[in-house]
């Protein structure tokens, strides 16, 4: 139907059809073999499938390998400060309900330097998608321990092995007040990852997705057990969860029936000891949203604003 003006026929067709190329910017400069490439492809595919207007789409990121992401999208982008993507994204969304906002962050950016903002981003529950690229190592600064590095990880800051158990971002997230969407996927599961991001994008609130990755340079063994050993990965499955084909479903030896409305079970599955679960842990479509507060008086005219201002000045009149 490309090339036919929408008003020529009696159908509600978009005048413009966006192809993958419409979302592609400069060539990604991540290392060969990095899972970031796969996530970029999945996100560009989502943009095309959902026909998101590039000018109405904003990718906000912090600092780190993952946070270069906005540069590779031909949308609006904000590559800001280390750990501070959430406040910027919240500001973008606060008075612009028309903008589709994505936050791209990494395990250092989100779970370490930006952890304070992460807690509150979940609580604000503003409609946006947050993708945590978790490769459990600092990559851009060359191999330092991250909060999600497994115990004993040998890095440039802990050459004799890290001394603390890793933070579990899913467990952490499920403990925050007003959390409304928590999912986990893996960059080597492209079909599952795409469906997870898609589900997150449809969520009416703050959708948090942790994407398990391995860093081909600094953390070759990261989640390698999972890649190499399918028994390590369990699939959370439910009709309200992430949509998967039978083929994908059957590739998992462990399938856990989990209703994403059940936060107690979600917390239980987040804390599995010998397995890692992927899928939708929790969803609440009715959690209070701060962006609705932000936009509640957007429709005021300048005359109404002026009248309001004058009424306030009256209070100070003598």
């Amino acid at each position: 139907m490309i090339g036919i003006k929408a008003d020529l026929i009696d159908l509600d067709l978009p005048e413009v059809y966006y192809s993958i190329q419409d979302y592609e910017s400069s060539t990604a400069r991540w290392c060969p073999g990095c899972g970031d490439h796969a996530i970029l492809t999945a996100v560009q595919k989502l943009c095309r499938e959902e026909q998101l207007p590039p000018e109405k789409t904003v990718f906000v990121s912090g600092i780190g390998c993952s946070s270069r992401f906005p540069h590779y999208m031909k949308t609006y982008g904000f590559h800001g400060l280390h750990g501070r993507a959430f406040p910027v994204a919240e500001g973008v969304k606060f008075r612009r309900p028309d903008l589709d906002v994505f936050v791209i962050t990494g395990d250092g950016d989100c779970c370490s330097i930006g952890a304070g903002h992460w807690v509150h981003a979940l609580r604000y529950n503003m409609k946006m998608v947050a993708l945590l690229f978790d490769n459990s190592i600092y990559g851009l600064t060359k191999k330092q321990t991250s909060p999600t590095s497994p115990l004993g990880t040998s890095s440039n800051t802990h050459p004799r092995g890290s001394v603390l158990p890793p933070m579990n971002p899913i467990q952490t997230t499920l403990g925050f007040t007003n959390v409304s969407f928590v999912a986990q996927t893996a960059d080597w599961q492209p079909a599952h990852m795409y469906e997870t991001i898609k589900k997150a994008h449809q969520h009416p609130g703050f959708a948090f997705v942790r994407i398990l990755q391995r860093c081909p340079i600094w953390m070759k063994d990261g989640f390698c057990a999972d890649v190499g050993n399918r028994d390590m990965l369990a699939l959370l499955d439910h009709e309200d969860g992430i949509e998967v084909t039978d083929e994908v479903r059957n590739s998992f030896p462990t399938i856990i029936k989990h209703d994403p409305a059940d936060i107690n079970n979600a917390r239980f599955y987040a804390e599995l000891e010998d397995q890692v679960a992927i899928g939708l842990f929790y969803q609440d479509k009715n959690a209070p949203r701060y962006d609705l507060y932000g936009t509640s008086n957007l429709d005021m005219t300048n005359d109404e604003r002026l009248a309001g201002l004058n009424a306030h000045l009256d209070r100070f009149a003598i």
Partner: protein, 637 residues
């Protein structure tokens, strides 16, 4: 005063008021006794009568400090004059104290002088506790010894004749007493009470008016103090508010959509005002999780098309600094109000200091040029927020508005601004972006460029804090960094070219020029006036733009023998241990001006946490002239 009230005693007829040009009155009490409401009301009544007024609150650091403690003094100073009043002045003429202990703090701050009238609640003389009775008696005797004219007033006793609980309402009785002493219009006083209690039950209103009249009548029958401060009646509509309220109203008049803040003294009341009012004037207040998030959120709003405001104080600026650097680098318009307090660190949270100039100017990593303006009156607090938004958008840069704790709590009447829709921010530009135009197409002459806003078709680009070229692409070629830094710096030069030279207060040339910025203007100009009346050749210059600076400063300063900045921040004094002309650290504006003009500018500054008083400046000027005369004599002999 017409004889509506009063019982027609002999004193009514005999006591003609003594006419004053001005009076400084303080009311001090334990926290929570309503001294501030009493003083604010006295100020409002006087402003309505056409007097010049400046009020400033005396705030203890704690919310509910122990009763009758010296450090817990809470209160207010009201300065009323026949003409416009621009600062808190020097010594109080009259002080009302609800207990004698709270006076000590003010005595230590040299707020009073021999001859000051101290009107003290006398109920402590009969307190059930012996130690309180003793303390009261001894202290009152001590105050008399120090030369104060002490009046022991039965406030509680008189209030109990009107109401059952004297603790609530004693402030209105005091207001009535002061209305008699300073010959205030009682009709205005009654309507003031109706105004402050308008949301309360009628019984409360009538009780308080009863207390007011009781205080008035008691003073009329018993006090030998009676003054009047003539006023110039004006038809002009006036408003009265403090600097923080003026910033809040200015923010709405500027059409800001969002104020993003985190609580910090003494800036918080700006957001209190906005939280109360902004919703119905089309905006929103966002209370962020911390100072960093507050500015990040504001930058997000600005980036998305609506320039936002963030309000903070020194410690908040320290936390926000990385984001300020980003806003400079990415050229994102933003307004940052810094209500300065004593530093460094947590410092003096409720006290005034002009200590953030250098940190705001130079705090960020690398070269981060930004605009800094400083209002010097309450009215300018209102106006400068509007100016700041326009500058931020025109020059695509963060703009700082530096006020301080003195402006924040100082209350002054000014003509009601004739607000207009034209002052509001324009609606977000959503027209398609000019094809082929880069997001940083720096004009080689001005450094200026137009910014694309999300929603504009064809304008898609990625903001970055990394060095970038015109297309916002990460710069791998270092020459781009040099060119971009030039462009950002040139914007300030472009703004500077459009500014007018500042006006000298006093003669255009002479022996001594005082240079100030921010809240000290009223005190400096009052001191200059006084010194000029003594025949001294002194003028002053007040800077409103601190980055870029107004033009011709060097030319103006060269017309004076000596230039001294007057500032509320720290500087070394030559002659103190180890301090020499070589190692002396100068006050902040002096440091900048010396570097810019190569003139040997001196400075007079302190960090007592008190507003600069005219008498301190006047005495400094006198000393300086005496030294100068001495030097001349020595040279001659």
């Amino acid at each position: 005063m017409d004889a509506v009230i009063g019982n027609g005693t002999e004193q009514d007829i005999m006591l003609e008021p003594v006419v004053l040009d001005e009076a400084i009155i303080e009311i001090v009490s334990d926290s929570g006794e309503g001294a501030q409401k009493c003083g604010q009301s006295l100020g409002a009544i006087s402003a309505r009568m056409g007097n010049g007024v400046w009020t400033v609150e005396i705030i203890p650091a704690e919310i509910q400090p122990p009763a009758r403690s010296r450090a817990g003094a809470s209160g207010i100073r009201v300065r009323i004059g026949s003409e416009k009043i621009t600062n808190m002045g020097d010594h109080a003429q009259l002080v009302v104290a609800l207990n004698e202990q709270v006076l000590y703090g003010r005595l230590e701050q040299k707020a009073y002088k021999p001859g000051t009238y101290l009107l003290i609640e006398n109920k402590w003389a009969n307190d059930p506790l012996e130690e309180i009775r003793t303390a009261y008696t001894e202290d009152v005797a001590k105050f008399r010894e120090m030369g104060a004219a002490v009046y022991e007033i039965p406030m509680e006793e008189e209030c109990l004749k009107v109401v059952r609980d004297a603790r609530k309402g004693k402030n209105m009785w005091v207001l009535g007493m002061l209305c008699y002493i300073y010959d205030r219009d009682m009709n205005e006083a009654r309507s003031q009470i109706r105004k402050i209690f308008k949301k309360k039950a009628e019984k409360i209103v009538t009780d308080n008016i009863g207390l007011l009249e009781s205080g008035y009548n008691w003073a009329r029958a018993n006090m030998d103090l009676h003054f009047s401060i003539p006023s110039m009646a004006t038809d002009e509509e006036m408003v009265v508010m403090n600097g923080n309220e003026a910033i809040a109203l200015g923010a709405m008049a500027a059409g800001f959509d969002v104020c993003s803040m985190y609580p910090i003294t003494p800036a918080t009341s700006v957001s209190h005002g906005l939280a109360e009012m902004m919703e119905s004037a089309g905006g929103k207040v966002h209370q962020a999780e911390d100072e960093i998030a507050a500015i990040g959120f504001a930058i997000g709003c600005s980036y998305a098309g609506k320039t936002a405001l963030t309000v903070t104080s020194g410690p908040g600026i320290a936390l926000k600094t990385e984001f300020i650097g980003l806003a400079v680098m990415a050229e994102i318009p933003l307004v940052i109000v810094d209500v300065q307090r004593g530093g460094p660190s947590t410092g003096l949270p409720t006290k005034v200091e002009q200590g953030d100039l250098l940190s705001v100017l130079y705090g960020a990593a690398g070269d981060a040029p930004k605009v800094i303006i400083a209002p010097s009156t309450i009215e300018e607090c209102f106006q400068f927020v509007i100016l700041a938004r326009k500058l931020a958008e025109s020059f695509r840069t963060p703009v700082f508005v530096l006020t301080d704790a003195n402006l924040a709590t100082g209350v002054q009447p000014f003509p009601r601004p004739k607000v207009s829709k034209d002052w509001f921010a324009p609606s977000i530009d959503q027209t398609p972006w000019t094809e082929g135009l880069s997001p940083y197409a720096w004009d080689p002459q001005t450094g200026l460029s137009k910014r694309p806003i999300p929603g504009q078709k064809g304008g898609m680009f990625t903001v970055t804090g990394l060095a970038h070229d015109e297309d916002s692409h990460v710069a791998y070629d270092p020459s781009i960094n040099q060119r971009a830094a030039e462009a950002r710096s040139r914007k300030l030069a472009a703004l500077q070219q459009s500014l007018k030279p500042p006006k000298v207060f006093g003669a255009e040339e002479g022996d001594l020029l005082l240079v100030g910025w921010g809240s000290t203007r009223g005190a400096i100009e009052e001191a200059v006036k006084k010194a000029r009346a003594d025949g001294l050749s002194v003028s002053s210059l007040h800077l409103h733009f601190l980055s870029p600076m107004e033009p011709d400063l060097k030319k103006i300063m060269q017309r004076f023998q000596k230039v001294v900045t007057v500032e509320l921040n720290y500087s070394d004094t030559v002659g103190r241990p180890l301090i020499t002309y070589e190692n002396r650290r100068y006050a902040q504006l002096a440091t900048v001006l010396r570097a810019q003009t190569l003139i040997d500018i001196d400075c007079y500054s302190n960090v007592y946490g008190q507003p600069m008083s005219p008498i301190r400046i006047y005495n400094m000027v006198k000393r300086m002239f005496a030294q100068y005369q001495q030097q001349l004599k020595e040279q001659q002999s």
